[in-house]
Symmetry: C2
Subunit: 231 residues, 2 copies
Amino acid sequence: MELFFDPGFNGNGILSENESKHCVNVLRHKTGDTITVSDGKGYYYTCTIINAHHKRCELKLVEKKHFKAPDFKLHLAVVPTKSIDRFEWLIEKAMELGITELTPLLSHHSERKKIRTDRIERVVVAAMKQSLKAYMPIINELTPFDRFLKQNKCDDNFIAHCYDTDKKPLKIAYQAGQDCTLCIGPEGDFSEKEVYDAIQLGYHPVSLGTSRLRTETAGVVACHTIHLLNE
Amino acid sequence: MELFFDPGFNGNGILSENESKHCVNVLRHKTGDTITVSDGKGYYYTCTIINAHHKRCELKLVEKKHFKAPDFKLHLAVVPTKSIDRFEWLIEKAMELGITELTPLLSHHSERKKIRTDRIERVVVAAMKQSLKAYMPIINELTPFDRFLKQNKCDDNFIAHCYDTDKKPLKIAYQAGQDCTLCIGPEGDFSEKEVYDAIQLGYHPVSLGTSRLRTETAGVVACHTIHLLNE
């Protein structure tokens, strides 16, 4: 099944210009074909194309289907890697597994100080469509870690780090069903002060196993651990 | 820490030509520097460079350290993706998490019918060095799935597939401490006959959660599940 994404769509009417182009020009859909559109808010609309226009593809609703929201919120707050490919890969995989919010972080050891949110959104949307998710996560702008710590209102927060201090494995520290935030540091880790500040604010320091993992691997592994514990 | 890999090294003597070049030409190590070499069989050799030759770098042993072998064998048997980048990425991540054997499979729905084993080995070695693993996995040639099923001698074998049949989640089907083989299919899944044949030979059909995962994500998620259950 292929999925189109249009956050403004509500069943009948015109598909967004971008998705009209993809539907008609790229995938060569014709008038009379049936397609499925997600609004990223839990609804799938199965529609018939009544005018296969490459900019304003007109649709008629056949069936509207609602998907239950995820049982728990999973907010991934991660310092982008130096290589944008590795970061985009992490986002794709996190989306495949399922996240509800994403915040790129600016940390003391950040090698990447800027990030194009529109590019991140494109990766998120593509992965959302590919993995047939019904909900589009919230995507935040690049946020300095100290500001993030003050703003984040989640109940159950974890910071993964590699310092040799008292920390539990994430699989022990997390309780199934809880909303949570996972903070994943950059190559070179969060600074000791950043870890200390987070712990002072009630963040649980956690380890992600015995292997030395790259940032993007740590992000995927942490998201997967949360999902596995909720299954 | 940076790690060099030379399967023939035993402490004193000459580093392989490839690693000598990397050590002296790329990383600019000089006579008198200390480096660490892994033999991929569980030993790390900390050595002093006594002649920083770019083809025949001569080393003197300072300390030999042994690492315990992994507690369980994890054999990843996976159908390479059409995109070689995605396959190489999977191998990198599987190595970071830890595998003891890798077999690329040729399956009914394979889009990639050839694979360069030397290229796979380069990815494995790079990931092994990066993630500081002491053991080099066995890497097999591309093997037709039916032949693989006849050859594979592991006790506890799993086949992940997406057909709507009776199967357990991997996290329930696997018992910690067991050696195991994980079979991961291609885009388009194993054929129904392949799944049937595997089950006839005692392979446990398993699911990897509720999300629709790409082949390379399924491979990583499966390896991580096994590691998490063994932690």
